[in-house]
Every structure is written in C-alpha cells, then in structure tokens.
C-alpha cells in the first residue's frame, strides 16, 4: 500500500489561502446542507486497493467511468497511469459501497480524462453549477483535487493535495456533495 501513497506536500502561502480550510468547508457543506443524509449512511471501507476490472464492475446506471480510457491518446506515462488506476478502483469502490444512496433521478455525467502535456492527467467531473477535478501529476507529490462552483452555488473554491491514504473519505464527501447538487 505504501508504494501507492501520494506524498503529503502542502503548498505554502499564496496558493492555499482560499483553500486552506477545505476540510472545514466541505464538512460544513455536508453537515448544514444535507439533512436528508445521515453522515453514517455513506460507507467507507479501508482495505487493500484492487486495481483490476475497475470499469466493468460498475452497474450501468452510475457507471461514471464509462469513458475511462486513459491510454487512448497513445500516451504512456506508467507512473501516472498506475496512480490513475488506483484512483479509479477506489472511486469504483466508493460508488459500489454507496450505490443505495444514488437516486435513479440523478444524472451522473461520466468522468472526463485528459492528458496534459503528456505528463499528467486531469480527471474532471463537470456539472451545471460546479466541477470537480483530480490532477494526477508525473511528480506525484503535486497531485491534487479541486471543487469549483459558479454563482448559483456561492462561487466557492476548494482544493488540496491528493493523498491516497485519504482518498476514499474524500470521494465519499465529494459524492455526497454531488448527490445534493447534481
């Protein structure tokens, strides 16, 4: 497991000012805006990461990985691909574990994958009033995530480094946010 961990490398000062309290922001969002969900209703499960067959296992109705094809541009950065596969398997597990929370009426667009400069992947989940992005960098210490909304959702902006050790709880919180606003 340790080989898959993203190193903790918080950027100093300038760039984290608006994001510095991201935990508070999304915990606040969850606690104040989602009375219909009990916190314990969302499931996390610590355990070994299974990188196999992460696409085919998802039921069609919430298979947000349906467009996952990270090698389609013909670019191979094995380090980045390895970490994307881990990311996807954790995401898949979060979706499967919480499938009962996903209302049939909610449309979940597919994640979009884009190589940037051949050295990193941007994984984006775009909704009408907000978008969530995950950046897997060739320098894995620089990987991160963000959540940005437009004025309809208060124009907030949250971001942080991406740590595999915290990934599952992060994805659960983001899924909860998505289900409240999609």
């Amino acid at each position: 497991m340790s080989e898959y961990q993203f190193e903790h490398d918080v950027e100093p000062g300038l760039y984290v000012q608006e994001d510095c309290d991201s935990n508070t922001i999304y915990k606040s969002l969850l606690s104040e805006n989602y009375p219909e969900f009990e916190n314990d209703s969302f499931v996390t499960a610590a355990g070994p990461v299974d990188t196999t067959d992460y696409i085919k296992m998802l039921p069609n109705e919430f298979n947000i990985l349906r467009n996952a094809d990270i090698a389609k541009d013909g670019i191979r950065n094995n380090s980045v691909i390895k970490h994307v596969e881990i990311f996807l398997s954790v995401f898949q597990r979060v979706l499967l574990n919480n499938r009962n929370m996903i209302d049939d009426s909610v449309y979940l667009p597919p994640l979009k994958f884009k190589w940037i400069d051949g050295e990193s992947i941007l994984i984006e989940w775009v909704f009408k009033d907000f978008r969530i992005g995950f950046t897997i960098e060739s320098n894995i210490n620089e990987s991160g995530w963000y959540l940005v909304s437009n004025e309809n959702l208060g124009e907030f902006s949250v971001s942080d480094n991406l740590y595999i050790s915290d990934l599952e709880s992060l994805l659960v919180n983001l899924l909860r946010f998505v289900l409240g606003h999609a």
């Binding site: 667009p109 884009k114 950046t135 620089e142 971001s159």
Partner: protein, 147 residues
C-alpha cells in the same frame, strides 16, 4: 487600453467541451510551447479574440489551419470579462492571471490571456477550472462547420 465586455476562446477539439456543452477546463489550460519564444514578462499566453464587434466572430469562425480546415470547427466559448476580472482578484489567482490586446496582421481582434510561469501546474489546472466554471457565458457553434 479599453476592452469589450466579452472575449472569445476558440474550440479546436471535441474534447474541449462535453456532451452537455459545458467547457472542459483544458479549454483554458495554459500550455508552455517550445515553438514560441519566451515572453519577457514571464507569462504564458493563450490566444483569444476580443469581441469588439461582430467581426470578431467572423474572423474567428473563418480562421483556417495550414491544411485549410477550420481552426475552430467546434465553435467558441464566450467569456465575460467582468467575471474574469473578479477571478483575477481572488486569492487563488492573486493577479497572476491577466490579459492583453495583441492585434496581428490577419486578426485585429486578437489578444491573449496571460498566466505567470511561476504558477505551479496543479494551480494552473484549478485556475483553468475556475475560468471554465465562473466566466463562460455560453458555447457558440461555428456556423461554418458543415460536419
């Protein structure tokens, strides 16, 4: 220097917009290009058209690549300059994003969005996401695209 209220960012590839016509962040990603000389102000530039009048749309939508195909066959994002100004002043951007007019012989509307090279790649992506989320008013199809 005066600027109009809107600018256009041409869309060169289908994956720069999604099926719901929301722009991808990559539409506004700042790429360092080896074939361009480095600017003396330490910025990276991405081309735009200032929407001074209807001619800006015409020039952009008729622009051709070397192979005579439309450069922006997938249309253009209309960006609100007022919203861009607000984003520039946020803490996360902190005035490291800016813009300029830079007319060229074949395009008097041409300009650039500018981002400091000092901004780390992960933050660049977030700034691109912020522009795509907060500043885009709509996506315009290219009326000349017959495909």
């Amino acid at each position: 220097m005066s600027y109009p209220t809107e600018l256009l960012r041409g869309i060169t590839a289908k994956d720069q917009i999604d099926d719901d016509e929301f722009p991808s962040s990559v539409l506004f990603y700042f790429t360092e290009r080896d074939n361009l000389p480095k600017r003396s102000d330490n910025n990276i530039e991405e081309s735009i058209n200032w929407r001074d009048d209807a001619g800006a749309d015409d020039v952009l939508f008729n622009q051709l690549k070397e192979d005579k195909q439309l450069q922006f066959r997938f249309g253009a994002a209309v960006v609100c300059r007022h919203e861009l100004d607000r984003v520039i002043q946020t803490n996360v951007v902190n005035h490291q994003l800016s813009y300029e007019r830079k007319a060229i012989p074949e395009n008097k509307y041409h300009g650039n969005l500018l981002l400091s090279r000092d901004v780390p790649p992960r933050v660049r992506k977030k700034i691109s996401a912020t522009i795509a989320t907060m500043c885009v008013k709509k996506i315009m199809p290219n009326p000349n695209n017959q495909l």
